[in-house]
């Protein structure tokens, strides 16, 4: 091996070593390598051999630990996982202890969900549907507090879970009513904020902290979907195997394995978020970059078709829900694109595309709202319509604001952190509105 090749290998090893530090990304390492070469050029031209020069140059750049610490201070957002869940030193023991804690909490979550069954409550009953989030989310919050390393005010969290439980079970919610369905849909959203408080602690008050929670939520959703997929396949196998020896396993699977597995998987998924790391950093940019153009294309085609054919939006029963879901999808694309974006890089084509996506979604939604407004007055207000309409408006305001922020960012009037601040400032609004629907709507509409 020539001196030059040896130097290249050494530089490569040094880069690999640096790349293990979560606080530095590959751009930073490129920049440091350029610096290293500055020293190498000078030192070798002064007569040092390449490997002597390499040693001196690396030493001058500084030791990795203190360097990583400085980068971490300057780029705290890159460290969200470590800051929140894992301890700074990843000893094998501590990893093991964390796994044991996770499994313990998963078993607890799995058992808690079966407690009402002791009193003869059916898994398919409305009671379970309404209370589902009250079984799992307190356990998840407790797990996050135990594993986390910051102070979380515990009594407010306990109190909010207790109050929520008292209210939804105190209301006379009928099996089939609209307000029951609304409670089932909105209670988890409101309580997810409580989980957010358990996750972020005092960092809740900073937009960075809330963005970390958004990242955590996305990553947990991905892991949960994977676990659910695997669990489904495993259950199908189990059924088939027991079937072959003439034993019907579907009862045990439906009564025990499915509900307990679904609960335990939330805790195991949370543990995976911490232990396996950076799924969302890899997935979110890919998903948003694939779906932002596609959704934009769909929306623009939809608008063009409406324009050319002259068909207005036909207002049927569920059309408002469909447009709500559209806005949720677009908001999701915007917020996860923001979560994955480096806040330092200048505006590029993708930011234009995001702006186009938002604008076309807003136009489509305004058209739908205009069509619906007429009908609402015609038929009077129902709890479903009021909830769907108000959520549509909240998301619309969010997207209008996001469009404004993107525009200012592209014109270089705002920094990208403005987008993160705008999006994260909506998290309490979503949860607050969901809580309002759960608390106020049933009595307001006479529990119908």
């Amino acid at each position: 091996m020539t001196d030059y090749q040896m130097l290249q290998t050494q530089i490569q090893q040094w880069r690999t070593y640096l790349s293990r530090e979560a606080a530095m990304d590959s751009d930073d390492i490129d920049e440091l390598e350029d610096h290293l070469h500055g020293h190498l050029d000078l030192l070798t031209s002064a007569g040092l051999s390449p490997d002597e020069a390499f040693l001196v140059a690396v030493k001058r750049i500084g030791d990795v630990n203190s360097l990583s610490r400085e980068f971490a201070v300057a780029h705290s957002e890159r460290l969200w996982r470590q800051l929140v869940l894992s301890s700074s030193n990843e000893h094998f023991d501590s990893g093991n202890r964390r796994l044991v804690t996770a499994v313990g909490f998963a078993i607890a979550a799995a058992l808690v969900v079966k407690i009402p069954a002791l009193f003869g409550v059916e898994v398919q009953s409305a009671f379970y549907a309404i209370n589902l989030s009250l079984f799992i989310l307190p356990v998840l919050a407790a797990y996050l507090i135990v594993q986390g390393e910051h102070d979380v005010p515990r009594w407010p969290l306990v109190a909010s879970f207790l109050i929520a439980a008292a209210i939804v079970n105190g209301y006379p919610l009928a099996e089939q009513s609209d307000t029951t369905l609304l409670t089932i849909l909105h209670l988890p959203i409101a309580l997810w904020l409580v989980v957010g408080l358990a996750y972020t602690g005092e960092r809740w008050y900073s937009s960075e902290g809330r963005m970390d929670f958004v990242r955590f939520s996305g990553e947990l959703a991905i892991y949960y979907a994977l676990l659910a997929l695997g669990g489904g396949v495993l259950m199908a196998f189990t059924m088939a195997m027991f079937d072959s020896i003439g034993v019907d396993a579907s009862g045990a699977l439906g009564e025990w394995i499915l509900p307990c597995g679904a609960m335990g998987a939330v805790i195991i998924g949370t543990w995976l978020v911490e232990a396996k790391k950076s799924v969302i950093e890899n997935m979110a940019p890919v998903l948003t970059r694939v779906f932002t153009p596609l959704v934009t294309l769909v929306l623009l085609t939809f608008l063009a078709t409406m324009l050319f054919t002259g068909h207005g939006i036909d207002v049927e029963r569920d059309v408002l829900i469909a447009f709500d879901l559209l806005l949720v999808l677009v908001t999701g694309l915007v917020i996860y694109a923001a979560s994955a974006r480096g806040s330092d890089s200048p505006p590029d084509v993708f930011d234009w595309l995001q702006l186009l996506l938002i604008v076309s979604a807003v136009i489509v939604d305004l058209l739908a709202l205009a069509a619906i407004a007429a009908r609402i007055t015609e038929y009077g207000v129902s709890p479903n319509k009021l909830a769907a309409l108000s959520e549509n408006l909240i998301l619309l305001v969010n997207l209008l604001g996001a469009a404004y922020v993107y525009l200012q960012f592209i014109r270089r009037r705002f920094r990208f952190t403005a987008m993160v601040q705008w999006q994260t400032s909506f998290l309490p609004i979503y949860a607050g509105w969901a809580a309002t629907v759960v608390l106020v709507f049933p009595p307001l509409f006479g529990f119908r």
Partner: protein, 122 residues
Amino acid sequence: MNVSKDLVAASATPLVLTILVAEESYGYAILQQVSKLSGGELKWTDGMLYPVLHRLERQGHIEARWGKSPNGRRRKYYRITEDGRRHLKAQRAQWQLVDQTLRELWHNLSLAPEPDLLVGTD
């Protein structure tokens, strides 16, 4: 002379900004310049410059772009923004105030009738 760590950290911002006022530059060159101007006395661990640059970039005081070095390596160049110029002006006023106050005090000390006061403060 060993300049204390705190002072090095505090002076980093005005030093970097002032160097960038003259022209666009990159990490290694900035460091060379600091080292040359201070006669090698102001010592930074090289790597520590970059978090400082990144922080200034995030605060909007400087802008970065990726370019190429003369022999084709990727190199990140920084230049000062309008915002950075304003910030530097404010920093400069602050440093001058500190400097002037200290000068005044030390000048008075050297005129004082009991020079013993200076013993041990070297």
